[in-house]
Symmetry: C2
Subunit: 361 residues, 2 copies
């Protein structure tokens, strides 16, 4: 694998904003989308970062399956709840608006819960959950996504990798930020093994007959991913239950597409009709926030100081690795493989916004 | 294994009520505890049913580590939130009260969220989530529990099997009821393998060095359970994240004991200081409830009609097996192994409330 080139975060941000505005997105909305996309690259979740600029967003703005102008509609509202229609806009723009409204409600009335229908891929779920941290709230963010996962005892792709993200503030320590797909691995992980010509561990995916396989080609062609837990014997029905849960909130409750219909071009509603769910919780409704922070810190220390398994040196809290990675990438620049840079150049040419950035020396 | 004897649900209910009232519990509270305990046996979750009558409840009422009189205190309250102190009463009594208040808040103000500290083992988490179904609400119930699970890269028992239960009503179909431990299996499952003299599947538990083992004795003596997902390679850090999440809500937010301190006799607060978290959501705050029901039914049908893996005949929705089991057990009586009946006889003699029930013919 060739070495990655590093680009400054500011340069990439400027470029993404130019890219989106060229496609008819307003400068403010383009800034939002850039911020969410680069949050993924910063945190080392490359799969949801700038690598998707064209495939998830640019190409869909070009062919009209995403609206560049995001016209969000309020469907229902109470002091603690809000149901939104995202108007088939950019998922990041819709998502950030929804979570901001959710936070306002939690600050005013202890809890906020917001559903969104008619949205699109919104990047990393964790971004929205983490928005709550600045306000010392607990944040929650779910989204459904295009089908890749088979339900237990099934063999076709019916469920998305439907992530669950929850952010909980601590005191002097880094916050807890869980941001997990409910599939065992992302589909991109399988592609990486195929490119390397290596078998995947048994239990990650199944073939077209629903049989667990270590052949990445079979999983990608006619097969499907297993939910967290793998096959039934290793309790994959729990992961299936969590994936379905996310879709009951994001698809059914929000009134968006469900299961295999997410992103299906035969949908009556134009666009992917992705659904999201957000929640924010005011800690002070339950407990003195200072006591809460102190107890979070104590818990984190208790976990980190605990005896390690033989050969291991560190117990992690969720989000910790990503915060460390973001610090490095902010300082040293975001690493992009030459092939990714090439694809950005191609996309930039297509869109009429040449990717002209120079890597850092 | 000898055949189980079947006892009528009504007889067992009467007996449990007599057992608890003999120990100083009020008749109303005894009825509540009996109802929750038998809900487990009815649904086939024997591990949380009458088999625990003495070990989890009777013995602790006898030695004073659970208060027979449940004096619940309100710590904080808003129209949508409530923080309770369970007064070290029976977990079922505290839990049912908390979820009832949670439902009232959701009916009045769209959402209810309730935390509880100073409680005890409350039986199956799913019972409380399902209470929401009668009101056509979505119900959520978490509890922390005594430590049995090692965090990823750790080797000691720091986290409980901390279950997640969520109930979502459907229309003509059975509701979705997820009720899952965030450990890969319950500790009782390991004991069953040891009794049978068989190895457990690799990935269920680890030995005192933190190394995955198939030896049930090593897991039970100095070892620990893996979280859902197993070791890190199969994404056990997601299960660890979910287990910790439950404890951040039930332990830290509620102000109850955390991690290894749940049920620790050296706690400053008498009793196990178990924490619970409940939520209820009014569907109509987000979407027309009839549309919601229709879409739930459509989703359930879509999953059930999907192609099956080779050799499989049925895709299940969460809770479905348990509803079917409850119908059988309600009609035919609850099956108890002779050894369980013996243990009930012993406990009854100790408590002064002889277990005098006759099995059904």
């Amino acid at each position: 694998m060739p070495d990655p080139l590093r680009f400054s975060v500011e340069d990439l941000n400027d470029y993404i904003v130019r890219f989106f505005t060229r496609l008819g997105v307003s400068p403010t909305d383009a800034q939002t989308a850039a911020r969410v996309i680069l949050a993924a690259d910063l945190r080392g979740v490359d799969s949801h970062g700038i690598i998707r600029l064209h495939s998830y967003y640019g190409s869909r703005l070009l062919n009209g399956t995403i609206n560049p102008q995001t016209a969000i509609k309020v469907l229902r509202e109470t002091p603690v709840t809000l149901a939104l229609d995202g108007g088939n806009g950019l998922g990041q723009v819709v998502g950030e608006y929804a979570m901001r409204r959710c936070i306002e409600k939690a600050r005013a009335n202890a809890i906020g819960m917001v559903t969104v229908r008619c949205s699109n891929h919104y990047g990393i779920a964790g971004y929205y959950a983490m928005m709550a941290l600045e306000h010392n709230l607990i944040g929650v963010s779910f989204t459904n996504s295009q089908p890749l996962v088979a339900p237990t005892y099934g063999r076709t792709r019916l469920l998305g990798t439907n992530p669950i993200a929850v952010a909980v503030p601590a005191g002097k320590h880094l916050p807890y930020v869980l941001d997990m797909a409910t599939s065992i691995v992302p589909i991109g992980r399988i592609a990486v093994y195929e490119k390397m010509g290596q078998p995947v561990p048994l239990g990650w995916g199944l073939d077209e007959n629903g049989v667990p396989t270590s052949d990445p080609h079979a999983i990608q062609n006619g097969g499907a991913l297993f939910p967290l837990g793998g096959p039934a014997e290793t309790r994959g029905y729990k992961g299936y239950g969590l994936s379905l849960l996310v879709d009951l909130f994001c698809g059914v409750l929000a009134g968006a597409a469900i299961g295999p219909e997410v992103g299906d071009p035969s949908n009556q509603i134009p666009g992917a009709n992705v659904g999201h769910f957000f929640a924010a919780i005011d800690i002070s409704a339950f407990r003195d926030p200072q006591e809460f922070q102190h107890e979070m810190d104590r818990y984190i220390e208790l976990l980190k100081k605990a005896p390690k398994a033989v050969g291991e040196e560190r117990i992690y809290i969720h989000g910790e690795k990503e915060f460390e990675m973001a610090e490095v990438n902010q300082r040293e620049g975001i690493p992009l493989l030459p092939a990714v840079v090439d694809s950005l150049r191609e996309a930039g040419a297509l869109v009429g916004e040449p990717f002209d950035l120079q890597p850092l020396p």
